[in-house]
Amino acid sequence: MQQEAPGSAVISLLVDNESGALGRIIGLFSGRGYNIRSLTVAPVDEHGLVSRVNIVTTGTLSDIRQIKAQIERLVPVSRVVDLSSEGPHVAREMALIKVVSSGEPRTEALRIAEAFRARAVDTTASSFVFELTGSSDKLDSFIELMRPLGLAEVSRTGIAAICRGPQTIQNN
């Protein structure tokens, strides 16, 4: 994600894990015409009271600032960071990729999967399901390579992101 074209941003936020909280965030994006390229959400504290949301969005620098300011207004949101503008960060995504083929394409798919360190998590005589984790770019290129080799279905998680170094979402 770090290598994305200018205009893409990774926003991470902490939100009280209450009913409708995600609806507020999504509603803000749709209501104000902002784009959501990917969105992940899961509880991250020990009691399951706070969830972390990672959103990949696009826009000019001032759009992104405005998005951040609008999210900050939401009552259950306690912290918002624009990871892409606040120092280096790591963003990873997982995908499950089903390839249905036989003969030479099947062998080729398996060979490429090894090169990408994708794991076959389901194997039948005519299909593989590969699990692949990495940057979104890496996932994109793997999927492109699978396309002529019997690519049948893709399921992606969207990114989890975190800033590099000792600082955290709470203190940066």
Partner: protein, 604 residues
């Protein structure tokens, strides 16, 4: 009421458990609530029963839930308190939606309590069930569905805190019937830590220093003030007066900011924006330092964005950081309470070296006076006794004759031409006296708003300057006015058209008056009488003043049907997509409207 001390002994004891509806009443009383505007229904019967069995809170029965919200808005706007609304589930809540969005757009603190079907029935398409929190999420600052009795009291306290914190707004609490019937523990406000931690009240000192340095450097400065100053309170308004006197800078105001600075003061240029004055708009266009205080660069204010105040250093003070750089990039943002900002600006102004550009400021004032001399609000009224009354004449005379009564006057409006004329002709020397729907532009706002203002100020003179089309949208509130004997004066500027729609059709759509004629109007005099009010009518110049005087003198509700010229347009006007220095001043320049570009026509 001294709620905190009253509840303190309770807090020391073990937790008090009461039926949910009584917990609700108690929390409202602790929050200082004196009036609720509402309408009963199945899902709120337990709350209405608890209301019946107490003596602290007065309930005002409106005739439509939308009106309850507008009345509460006006109550809040005219008192500085939180307005409270109570509606039932389903249609009760959906009828409140327009009012909630109106309050959100105009930053009015409200708490709306809505009934809900019992939690066990939620999601079953039960009778009068609506996904109220889902529907109201984009029209409230925050909303709740109370699912657990132990959350009830804390939710109410937090809702009041959120409604008032930072930039105020409406908060809705959806109350399932089993929560209000069943028992719930009471919690005092002091036991609750509301989630309002993100508000920055105190402005950054360095930002103030830089802003004041820019002001000191200004040769053609202008204060552009908005509703945020009213929300901040009387100290902010006092501060603004002091700051303006200290600096000698001119002041213009948004529609929502009237009364923060005295409308009759020489330093006041009137409203800016689409129907603002010539002097205010040209000053905005030509200034070299623009000091925006509690205003948000609304599209009605800015006109064409790339031509808005093109040469100025822009300072923007707002408590809501998301407003800064939202529409217009500014040079010096100041996040914080605008009252504190003004107070610190005064301090800093006195601290920094003396203002060196007095000569240039004088020249700037001369320029402004030349613009002012154009008298952009002038209109030609035939003074013959049988002449047709112009709407501008009617509104100007309502203002002047109301002034002559010497009474504290609150003015609400509906939405449209009459609203803009009222904004142009009425001058407010005090804050909280002007009640209008600015951001949302809600037709039907004015009559229920007059109800709310009169309930809050029973001895004051309360006027609704209305149009015949707008006021019909909530005319049922004449019933509320009758029931509580509210001496509201409803002045209907009756031109038989949705005037602003007609004006745009004339200027932009080749005078094709598609569906904007008010056909089959009621006889407003008889309508008034059927609602136990006095009905008056003026159709000629010689009747106008007498009818207004009679209405103002009557000790009770009055509906005045002022039959005015049908074809008048509201000027000055900045056509859609035009810049401030391209305004249409009067009918003689109307052809400029025809030159509006396609891009301009796409704007509202």
């Amino acid at each position: 009421m001294t709620p905190k001390t009253a509840s303190a002994p309770m807090a020391a004891q073990t937790t008090t458990t009461l039926p949910g509806a009584e917990v609700l009443m108690r929390a409202l009383v602790e929050q200082g609530v004196e009036v609720i505007f509402g309408y009963p229904g199945g899902a709120v019967l337990p709350i209405y029963d608890a209301l019946f069995r107490q003596n602290h809170i007065r309930h005002i029965l409106v005739r439509h839930e939308q009106a309850a919200v507008h009345a509460a808005e006006a109550y809040a706007r005219s008192t500085g308190k939180v307005g409270v609304v109570l509606v039932t589930s389903g249609p009760g809540a959906t009828n409140a939606v327009t009012g909630l969005l109106d309050a959100l757009m105009d930053s009015i603190p409200l708490v709306c309590l809505s009934g809900q079907v019992p939690t066990a029935l939620i999601g079953n398409d039960a009778f009068q069930e609506a996904d109220t929190t889902g529907i109201t999420r984009p029209v409230t600052k925050y909303n709740y569905l109370v699912r657990r009795p132990e959350d009830l009291a804390a939710t109410v306290h937090e809702a009041f805190a959120i409604a008032q914190a930072g930039r105020p707004g409406p908060v809705l609490i959806d109350l399932p019937k089993n929560i209000t019937v069943g028992n719930a523990p009471y919690k005092g406000a002091d036991e609750v830590k509301p989630r309002v931690g993100k508000v920055q009240v105190e402005p950054d000192r360095d930002a103030i220093v830089r802003a004041v340095a820019a002001m000191k450097n200004g040769r053609r400065p202008l204060f552009y003030t908005g509703g945020g100053i009213i929300n901040s309170g009387s100290e902010a308004c006092e501060g603004l007066r002091k700051l303006a006197k200290l600096t000698g800078f001119p002041v213009t105001s948004t529609l929502m900011g009237f009364g923060a600075f005295p409308g009759t003061d020489k330093q006041f240029l009137g409203m800016l924006g689409m129907h603002g004055t010539y002097e205010a708009n040209l000053a905005t266009h030509g200034c070299d330092v623009l000091i925006a205080l509690g205003s948000r660069f609304d599209d009605r204010v800015t006109g064409r964005l790339d031509a808005f105040s093109p040469d100025s250093f822009k300072i923007h003070a707002d408590i809501d950081p998301s407003q800064i750089n939202k529409i217009i990039p500014v040079d010096q943002p100041i996040v914080g309470d605008v009252g504190r900002t003004i107070a610190l600006m005064i301090e800093e102004w006195e601290k920094q070296p003396a203002y060196e550009h007095k000569a240039e400021l004088t020249a700037w004032w001369e320029q402004i006076e030349a613009w002012r001399a154009l008298d952009c609000l002038r209109f030609n009224q035939d003074q013959a006794p049988d002449a047709i009354i112009k709407p501008q004449q009617a509104i100007q005379r309502i203002y002047e004759l109301a002034q002559q009564t010497g009474r504290d006057t609150f003015v609400s409006t509906e939405v449209g031409q009459h609203q803009m004329w009222a904004a142009q002709f009425f001058k407010f020397d005090k804050p909280n006296r002007w009640l209008t729907s600015g951001g949302l532009g809600t037709m039907g706002y004015g009559l229920p708003a007059a109800v709310g203002a009169q309930i809050a100020h029973p001895d004051a003179l309360v006027l609704d300057v209305a149009g015949e089309a707008s006021t019909l949208m909530n005319i049922q509130e004449l019933g509320t006015i009758a029931q509580y004997r509210l001496p509201v004066k409803l002045f209907i500027i009756n031109n038989h058209y949705m005037g602003m729609v007609r004006q745009w059709q004339e200027l932009l759509h080749g005078s094709r008056y598609s569906e904007s004629y008010s056909d089959a109007l009621p006889d407003f005099v008889k309508l008034a009488e059927s609602f136990h009010a006095k009905g008056l009518r003026a159709t000629r110049m010689d009747q106008l003043d007498d009818v207004i005087r009679e209405a103002l003198a009557h000790d009770g509700p009055v509906v005045v049907d002022l039959c005015v010229a049908e074809g008048e347009n509201c000027f000055p006007m900045i056509p859609s997509g035009a810049a401030h220095n391209e305004m249409i001043l009067g009918p003689e320049q109307e052809e400029r409207g025809a030159k509006v570009t396609r891009e301009g026509m796409m704007l509202v």
